[in-house]
C-alpha cells in the first residue's frame, strides 16, 4: 500500500530522503532520560539510520522490555508501532510478532538488566532460533531505572557508585550471542555514532538475527571512577576491530584502498559491507575465532568493538517453518478454514 503523505510543517533545512521523509518523521516523543544518558545517543543513531536507509517508518515494529533503555523506543520512530512489554521478556514477544507478520522489520531494544539478568534465557533462545530482527542492548552495566544496582554485565571487580565491588562474573552478551548461533554480532559505543550508524544499517539489512551490544553509559549511576562502563573507561579501553561502510545497489562503490586493508562482504539483499580493518588478523566470518578473540581481549581488559561476526546467508525461523509469504495475520477465512467437507471426512475417520 502507498499513501500520499500529508505535508508537515518542517524546518526547511530538513532534507527529505528518497521516500520523501525527513529526519523528523523518524523522531518520537520527547525523551525523559537524564541529560547525557547514552541511551539518547542510541536513539539518535537509530533515527539517523532509518532516515538514511529510506525506511518506511510504519514497516518497523519496535519492541522493548522494561528499563530506561526499554523506554527509549518511545523517543524515536513515532510513526512505528511500539510495544513496551514486560521486564526481560521482549524476545518472546518479538518472536511472536515476527511469526505473525514476516514482512515488517523488527527492532528489539533492551537493557543489560533486561537481557542479561532477568532475560538471559529468552535472549539466548531468541538468538538460537534465528528470529529475523535487529536486537540492540543499551548496555550500561547497571539497572538505571531502579537506581543503580549491578546488572549481570557488570564486570567482576568493578565498583558501584556507592563503592560496592561486584563479585560475580560478567556476562558478555556478544560472546553468548555467538555461542547461541546469532548470524550478525557486533559491539559498539553510544559515544561513537560514526561506528554505530553503519553497524545499525548493516544489521537492518542483514536478514537474520542481528545483535548489537552498545555500551551506553548511565550518567546518573554508573559514570564514576571504578566503573568499567563509564564514558571515560569505555573510551580508554575501546579496541575497535574495524570500521564499516555499507553500499546499496544505488550507491557508487568507491574502491581506492590499500590492498588488504578492506574486505567486502555481500549481504543476501545485494548490499555490500566494506570493512576497514583496524586489526590485521580479524575477519568477521569465523565464529570460533570471533569467540576466542573476544575472550582474549577481555582478559587484557579491552573492549572489542566493531563487527565481530556475520554470516552473509542467514537462515531464519520463517525459513525453517516454511511459512507462506506475507503476514499470517491477514490470511483470510478461505486460506484458514478447511470447511465442512474436510470436517465430514474427519468425522468419518473417528467412528
Amino acid at each position: 500500500m502507498t499513501y500520499l503523505l500529508k505535508p508537515k510543517l518542517h524546518h526547511p533545512s530538513l532534507a527529505p530522503n528518497a521516500l520523501g521523509y525527513t529526519r523528523r518523521d523518524y523522531e518520537g516523543a520527547i525523551s525523559t532520560m537524564c541529560a547525557g544518558c547514552g541511551h539518547d545517543s542510541i536513539s539518535a543513531a537509530l533515527i539517523q539510520t532509518c532516515y538514511e536507509l529510506d525506511m518506511e517508518p510504519h514497516r518497523v515494529a519496535k519492541l522493548s522490555g522494561i528499563g530506561c533503555s526499554s523506554k527509549s523506543p518511545d523517543y524515536f520512530l513515532g510513526n512505528s508501532h511500539g510495544f513496551n512489554t514486560v521486564h526481560g521478556r521482549m524476545p518472546s514477544v518479538l518472536t511472536g510478532a515476527n511469526l505473525a507478520n514476516r514482512d515488517l522489520l523488527y527492532l528489539g531494544i533492551s537493557g543489560d538488566g533486561d537481557s542479561a539478568s532477568i532475560g538471559l534465557g529468552q535472549f539466548a533462545h531468541a538468538m538460537r532460533r534465528g528470529v529475523q530482527m535487529v536486537y540492540v542492548v543499551e548496555n550500561n552495566g547497571v539497572y538505571g531505572l531502579t537506581k543503580g544496582q549491578f546488572s549481570a554485565t557488570a564486570d567482576k571487580g568493578s565498583k558501584s557508585k556507592g563503592g560496592v565491588v561486584n563479585e560475580d562474573s560478567a556476562i558478555d552478551l556478544c560472546a553468548l550471542a555467538l555461542q547461541m548461533g546469532a548470524t550478525f554480532v557486533a559491539r559498539s559505543f553510544s559515544g561513537d555514532k560514526g561506528q554505530l550508524v553503519p553497524l545499525l544499517k548493516a544489521a537492518f539489512t542483514h536478514g537474520g538475527t542481528a545483535f548489537i551490544d552498545v555500551l551506553s553509559p548511565c550518567v546518573t549511576f554508573n559514570n564514576h571512577a571504578g566503573s568499567t562502563k563509564s564514558y571515560d573507561f569505555v573510551r580508554e579501553h575501546n579496541d575497535a576491530l574495524n570500521r564499516l561502510d555499507i553500499f546499496f545497489g544505488k550507491d557508487e562503490i568507491v574502491a581506492d584502498y590499500a590492498p588488504g586493508s578492506v574486505t567486502d562482504v555481500r549481504q543476501h539483499d545485494g548490499s555490500i559491507l566494506r570493512l576497514h580493518k583496524l586489526h590485521d588478523s580479524y575477519t568477521p566470518t569465523d565464529r570460533i575465532h570471533a569467540m576466542r578473540y573476544l575472550e582474549e581481549r577481555k582478559a587484557l581488559g579491552q573492549i572489542v568493538t566493531g563487527l565481530l561476526y556475520m554470516d552473509a546467508t542467514p537462515n531464519t525461523l520463517h525459513d525453517n517453518l516454511n511459512t507462506v509469504e506475507g503476514a499470517l495475520g491477514i490470511l483470510g477465512d478461505k486460506a484458514l478454514c478447511p470447511g465442512q467437507g474436510n470436517l465430514d471426512k474427519i468425522n468419518a475417520s473417528l467412528r
Partner: protein
C-alpha cells in the same frame, strides 16, 4: 466360589477395566476393544488412568459400556482384565461381587490370591505367546491383542468388527494385519477352549451410537484451532496439554498448506518455557495473528505476569488450560478443575479474565474455534478451561459441524482506509459504549494510527500518563468491557426438572456427563433438581436469575476450595449460604454416583424436600 453369589448378568451395561504396565503396548489393544463396542452400535466411554512415568508403573484403562448411553464414569468394575501383577490385590478388590476376573494363568497362583465371590477366567496368555512367537517384542505386543480376542469370545463381540478395525488401523500393511488377525484368533480360541462359554456380560448389536464420533478433547480442540483460524501456536510441553498441540500440528499438516506452494499457513514454535510461549502468543496477537498456547497449571502460574499485560494492554490471546491435579506439580496425570481462580483473576492488580468451560470434546472443538473470535472481539486473553478427563480421554460425541456461512469476527480493527478517511483513532477510546476500543495493526499506515503499547497507565490516545483520574477511567472501561463479554460468551444451558422444584444444581465442564446420569438417578429417588450448566465466565445474567429463582442451589466442582462458587458469589453478590458446594477433588473422574449420593444425603440431612417454587 460361594454358592450364594450369582454371576453378574448384564447386556450392554457393564464396566471392563484393564490393569496394565506402562509402556507395555497395551494402549492399542485396549483402544480397539472400546472401538469394537462402538462399532457394534453400543455407546461406551473409556478412561486412561496412568502414572507420571514412561515405563514400568501401573496403568489402567476403564471402559463403560452403556446401551442407555450414560457416558460418565460409573465406578466399580464388572470385569477386570488383570495383566499387572504389581496391582493384583488392589485390582481384585475393585471387582463387584459376582463380577469376573480375567488373568494370565500361565503361572499358577495359590487360591489365597483370589476372591471367592467373583468368577475367575484364566487364560495362559504368556504360555501361548511363548509357543507362538519368538521375539520378546512380539510376545509382549501380541499378548495384548490376544486378550482382545479372548474378550471377543467371552463378551460376544463380533470378530468381523475387530477385523475391520484392525484393517482400518494398519491400512495397507497386510503383514501387520494378518499378524493381528492371528493373535485375535489365538485369544478367541483359547477362551473358547479354556472357558467354554461366554460369560454373563454381553455386548449386543444396537443402533444407539448413531453418527457419533469417538475422540479426545485435545484432538478436538486442536482441530477447533484449525477451524478457528489460528495461525500461530507457541507452546511448551506439559501433561496433559501436549497432545492438543500435537493434534493442531497434525491437522495443520493435513489441512493448512498452501495448495500451490505447499508452504505453511501457520507457525508452530516450541518455546523454551511458558513465559516465552505466552510471550510469543501476546506478540503474535498484538501483530494481528490468531495465536494460542496450551498448557496446564504450572504453566498458568508462570504466565501470570504476561496475562496482566495482555489484560491491561488489551491483546487478543487464547490459552487452553488442560487442568490437572494441583497445587504445584501435584498429580500431573490426574484430573481437576482447580485453576479456575488462578485463571479468572490471573496476575497482580485488579484483573478479570474470560473463561470458557467446554463439557466434552465436541465443545472443546466448538469453544476452541469460538475463543479466537472472542479474543479478537474483546481484545483480551480467553481461557478454554478443559481438564485431563476431557483432554486425554476419548469420548463419544456428536460429529463436528461448521457453519459455512460464518466468517471470523476479527473485532474492531481500524484499517488504513479508515485512518486515511480521517477517522479519529484513540487506542483506548470507548467509541461504542461497550468498553471495547479500536486497535490498529502494526504496519497499517505510514503516518497515522501508530501507537505505543505498554503495561503502564496511559490515556485514551495511548499516551503515557500517571494521572489518577485517567488511570481510573481506563480501569472502569475495562470493567465495562467485561460486562460486554458476559453477553458474548456462550450462555448457560438449563435442564428443567420434571417437577417444579425449589432446588437447583449448577455444574460445569467435565461434570456434565455424570450430571446427566445423576439427575436421572435422583429423579428415580423422587429428588427433583433444575440443572444449569455454566459455560463461561463472566457469568450471563441468566445464571444469577437461576440462583435467585431457587431457594438454594448445589454447585458441583472438581476442586477443594469451591473456586467457581467464589467467582459466583463475588461477581454476583450472592449470599454464599444459598450455594451448597459438592466437591470432588481426589484426582479421579467424578461419577454420577458421587453426585447423587452427595445430593441425596444433603437433601435428607437438611430435611429439605423439593417444594414448589416461591416465585418464577
Amino acid at each position: 466360589m460361594s454358592t450364594t453369589i450369582k454371576p453378574l448378568q448384564r447386556t450392554n451395561d457393564f464396566v471392563v477395566k484393564f490393569a496394565n504396565v506402562n509402556g507395555s503396548g497395551s494402549a492399542s489393544a485396549n483402544g480397539l476393544f472400546a472401538r469394537a463396542i462402538l462399532r457394534m452400535g453400543v455407546p461406551a466411554s473409556a478412561r486412561n488412568i496412568f502414572p507420571s512415568n514412561i515405563q514400568g508403573l501401573p496403568t489402567w484403562y476403564e471402559v463403560r459400556i452403556s446401551g442407555q448411553g450414560w457416558l460418565g464414569r460409573r465406578g466399580g468394575v464388572d470385569l477386570m482384565v488383570a495383566m499387572n501383577p504389581q496391582t493384583w490385590d488392589r485390582d481384585l478388590a475393585e471387582i463387584e461381587p459376582g463380577g469376573y476376573l480375567f488373568y494370565d494363568s500361565t503361572r499358577e497362583l495359590p487360591k489365597s490370591r483370589f476372591r471367592d465371590d467373583i468368577f475367575i477366567l484364566g487364560i495362559p496368555l504368556t504360555a501361548i505367546c511363548n509357543r507362538e512367537y519368538t521375539s520378546p517384542r512380539e510376545r509382549q505386543l501380541f499378548k495384548n491383542v490376544m486378550y482382545l480376542g479372548a474378550l471377543a469370545f467371552l463378551l460376544g463381540i463380533e470378530l468381523a468388527v475387530i477385523d475391520q478395525l484392525i484393517a482400518d488401523q494398519f491400512a495397507s500393511k497386510q503383514k501387520l494385519i494378518d499378524a493381528n488377525y492371528k493373535a485375535v484368533r489365538l485369544g478367541y480360541e483359547a477362551a473358547r477352549t479354556q472357558v467354554g462359554a461366554p460369560i454373563g456380560l454381553h455386548v449386543e448389536r444396537s443402533d444407539a451410537v448413531g453418527d457419533r464420533i469417538f475422540i479426545d478433547g485435545n484432538a478436538a480442540a486442536g482441530l477447533g484451532c484449525v477451524y478457528g483460524g489460528a495461525t500461530v501456536c507457541a507452546w511448551y510441553p506439559i501433561t496433559p496439554s501436549t497432545s492438543l498441540v500435537e493434534s493442531f500440528t497434525d491437522y495443520c499438516k493435513q489441512l493448512r498448506h498452501d495448495p500451490e506452494t505447499g508452504r505453511a499457513n501457520y507457525a508452530i514454535v516450541q518455546a523454551e518455557d511458558e513465559l516465552a510461549s505466552i510471550g510469543m502468543v501476546v506478540g503474535a496477537g498484538w501483530n494481528g495473528a490468531r495465536a494460542f498456547t496450551a498448557t496446564s497449571g504450572p504453566g498458568i502460574s508462570l504466565m501470570q505476569e504476561f496475562l496482566g499485560l495482555a489484560y491491561f494492554a488489551e491483546i487478543p490471546s487464547v490459552l487452553f488450560n488442560i487442568q490437572r491435579g494441583g497445587p504445584s506439580t501435584g498429580m500431573p496425570t490426574k484430573t481437576q478443575q482447580s485453576d479456575v481462580l488462578s485463571c479468572a483473576y490471573a496476575s497482580h492488580g485488579d484483573t478479570k479474565h474470560v473463561l470458557l468451560f467446554p463439557q466434552d470434546p465436541k465443545e472443546s472443538f466448538d469453544f476452541g474455534a469460538l475463543s479466537f473470535d472472542l479474543a479478537e472481539r474483546l481484545q483480551t486473553p480467553v481461557f478454554v478451561m478443559m481438564d485431563l478427563d476431557i483432554g486425554m480421554n476419548e469420548w463419544l460425541v456428536d460429529p463436528f459441524r461448521w457453519d459455512e456461512t460464518r466468517g471470523y469476527d476479527r473485532g474492531k480493527i481500524m484499517t488504513a482506509e479508515m485512518l486515511e478517511a480521517g477517522k479519529d483513532f484513540g487506542r483506548y477510546l470507548d467509541v461504542d459504549g461497550d468498553g471495547i476500543p479500536f486497535r490498529t495493526l502494526p504496519g497499517t499506515h505510514p503516518a497515522r494510527g501508530a501507537y505505543f503499547t505498554r503495561g503502564t497507565s496511559r490515556d485514551p490516545y495511548a499516551k503515557y500518563s500517571e494521572l489518577g483520574s485517567v488511570y481510573q477511567a481506563n480501569m472502569e472501561r475495562l470493567l465495562k468491557k467485561f460486562r460486554t463479554a458476559a453477553s458474548l460468551v456462550p450462555a448457560p444451558v438449563v435442564h428443567r426438572a420434571q417437577q417444579e422444584t425449589n432446588a437447583g444444581i449448577l455444574y460445569y465442564g467435565s461434570t456434565s456427563e455424570p450430571m446427566r446420569e445423576a439427575l436421572s438417578q435422583l429423579e428415580a429417588q423422587n429428588i427433583h433438581l433444575d440443572a444449569m450448566r455454566i459455560r463461561a465466565f463472566p457469568f450471563n445474567d441468566e445464571v444469577y436469575r437461576f440462583i435467585a429463582e431457587h431457594d438454594f442451589v448445589f454447585l458441583v466442582e472438581q476442586n477443594r476450595d469451591a473456586q467457581l462458587k467464589t467467582l459466583l458469589v463475588n461477581e454476583g453478590e450472592i449470599d454464599p449460604s444459598r450455594i451448597v458446594s459438592l466437591l470432588h477433588y481426589d484426582g479421579s473422574t467424578i461419577t454420577a454416583k458421587f453426585i447423587s449420593r452427595e445430593v441425596a444425603s444433603r437433601i435428607t440431612a437438611s430435611n429439605v424436600k423439593p417444594m414448589k417454587k416461591v416465585a418464577s
